[in-house]
Subunit: 418 residues, 2 copies
């Protein structure tokens, strides 16, 4: 008695979230006795609520395979947070109705902390309402802030991009410092957790003595100490690179740059810490500067994705389906680090009750004592995650990514207003 | 009677200027009967003026070969413009003295328009002063604005980076547009010429129907028309990408964003057009936005350099030496497009008298009628330049670039104050 599966992508997309989709769909296609078809939500959970479902059986095996190397969310994502079971009762009940109407027995939700929470609530409610749905959360977030799992698919590729970009730009500044730019500032993502900023520290290694000053969200910004550190680096190297997290903030919680707008989750929409920091350096120290804001480029850069990350993103998608088939519910596949050197990992699992609404920050011992760098422990953690180059195919000088047909499933229920 | 050669890197560096250095040095090493040694200027022409010369014979063949895939200026560059022969007489005469003292018979100057001018003047002066130096300009500029040559080494790789980044970010925005970001703005280099901005147009092709709105420096900014175009794109696609050149400006010449600082050449130091454009869109149309400023990342991104560009950068370095050996003077090797399909090119030459102080802008027929896109003619021109991926070697998840020893040559002359 095969049931259909529902799959949706949630929140900010990554360069490898489609590799997880690929893992889900390819694995489901191998188990037609258990999973008849994978229906995807167009634009995430909104697709489920509005019965805007995509029939993935209309996609060729080749196109599904191409998801492995296509960045972004192939079915569309959304920022739409379901609240608690009382406040969003109407929406949760609608989900169960949709699942009933489309014979959906599996709910695969691919996202970060907020979607883990939604996934957990769906599993609770489906029990209560007597319509059994196995809800499995597929982890994804460039922020790397989910608990229990060693890392989050999406992070390793951003880390690789930021590490490489910081190294490349540092070589550039080093060339220019005699008469021109002495300080280069790059702003990276990471609203609360400094994992991505930490990756900038990988620009330096035994072969590359590059001065990198990192501003973490975990360390309240101390302007005087920061400027003294930049000054000392420039005195020694004649140049310096600064990696500033979008979440870097003053001791009172005020972000270095806040645009004043907020996203659908009520989070402040950030951007612009880099010019603020650059101008601070110019005013206090008089150094010429350049600054970059990587923004979406960092999380979309499939052209330089981490091989480890791609493999892990696929693996959690595959594991989600395999766990579901074995009867598991209300869990999330995790990445378990089995050994450090050589790096070995396997897929484990965590109950959603322990994942939902927990954020994982950089441990203090991953940040150097002065607060501006990474420690060897952090390096040991990060380096395996950026290993391997799994280049996409190129055509005519450009990466050839897939755009799916995304054929709609016929609607069966009355309209639902969001 | 072999003479030494002098080689220096000038102005903003690129991801392939070292490939030209590699071409110069490897070719010189094959002609020891004519070129005894290549002495490099530490930090460009300043290294010559201050007698801060680098003995490249101390570098292994392997390290010189590694320059081919190492971004930035391996010997250091500078922004230091020599004025006309009268105003900078002292500097020009010092150069000739340095050349005499170090038995330098060849002057290879690797840069853009300003350095072509310097190179031209050195060749004029050396004749006047009766100390024969063959001055050959090796073209380099991401701005692609040198005349005569079909393209400038450094440009193809930036074009590839911007084309790929715009495509990747566009896939990202497309995923998010239902509830979140509808407009993504990326700011790119190009102070006067829109060649780099044009490359953003390559994000779209027959397989990728991506809405891209480009703001060229060649087209005075018309806010009303721009906003109407963005609005129409979003109405049709639900999202839109905007590529804005740092040199985009209002009809009165005022840049969309000017930081108020000026570089050593007196050019306004730009940056920050992206947030200005993004905010304009938000205020007028209410769309959620994200913006990125690629800055140095674009010109340092050796990890995704164009194979064509790397080959051409090497070739102009090699040709410079071969032309010098054949007795040429006061010229610049050029790239000549021999055929379009299949793309074939060869190295030609141009007299420096026709190169110095001439800037090449985008022809009007490369820009679409509405001023916000590229034409098929532009596409035909650009596409061959981004062909091929010549990846650097990776070690431990990171590109392995070379840092040279840069051993100094013993000084022979009294100190010279800049």
């Amino acid at each position: 008695m095969a049931k259909n599966a529902f799959y949706a992508q949630s929140g900010g997309v990554t360069s490898v979230i489609n590799a997880s989709a690929c893992g889900v769909i390819e694995t489901a296609r191998k188990h037609k006795d258990k999973i008849a078809n994978v229906l995807a939500g167009r634009n995430g959970i909104i697709g489920a609520l509005t019965e805007d479902l995509i029939d993935t059986s209309k996609e060729s095996d080749a196109d599904i395979a191409a998801l492995r190397y296509t960045p972004s969310g192939a079915f569309g994502s959304c920022r739409f947070k379901l609240k608690d079971l009382e406040k969003s009762k109407r929406e949760y009940e609608r989900l169960i109705e949709i699942f009933k109407a489309h014979d959906i027995g599996y709910f695969f939700y691919n996202g970060g902390g907020d979607s883990a929470d939604t996934c957990y609530k769906v599993s609770q409610l489906s029990e209560k309402m007597g319509y059994p749905v196995q809800a499995i959360h597929v982890p994804k977030t460039v922020d790397n802030d989910l608990p229990i799992t060693d890392t989050c698919p999406g992070f390793g590729s951003v880390a690789k991009y930021i590490a490489i970009s910081t190294r490349e730009a540092s070589y550039d500044v080093r060339s220019m410092s005699k008469t021109s730019t002495k300080v280069f500032v790059i702003e990276v993502m990471g609203r609360h957790a400094g994992w991505i900023a930490a990756a900038g520290g990988l620009a330096a290694d035994e072969e590359n003595d590059i001065p990198v000053v990192i501003l973490f969200p975990e360390i309240p910004f101390d302007q005087e100490k920061f400027l003294a550190t930049v000054k000392a680096k420039v005195a020694k190297y004649d140049y310096c690179s600064v990696v500033v997290s979008e979440g870097a903030h003053y001791p009172d919680g005020k972000f270095l740059a806040e645009q004043g707008t907020r996203d659908a989750f009520g989070h402040a929409q950030l951007g612009g810490a880099a010019p603020v920091v650059a101008d601070m350096v110019r005013q206090a120290l008089g150094f010429k500067f350049h600054w970059a804001v990587a923004d979406y480029l960092q999380r979309a850069a499939r052209h330089i994705a981490s091989g480890t990350d791609v493999a892990q993103a696929y693996a959690v998608g595959q594991a989600a389906v395999e766990l579901a088939i074995k009867g598991h519910n209300s869990i999330m596949p995790t990445i378990v680090r089995k050994s450090q050197n050589p790096y070995k990992w396997e897929v484990g699992e965590a109950p959603l009750s322990k994942v939902a609404n927990v954020e994982k920050f950089m441990p203090r011992d991953f940040i150097s004592e002065d607060g501006f760098g990474i420690t060897q422990a952090c390096r040991d953690y990060l380096v395996p995650l950026i290993q391997g180059e799994e280049y996409p195919p190129f055509h005519n000088g450009m990466p050839r990514y897939v755009t799916l047909k995304n054929a709609p499933v016929a609607k069966k229920l009355p309209e639902f207003k969001l």
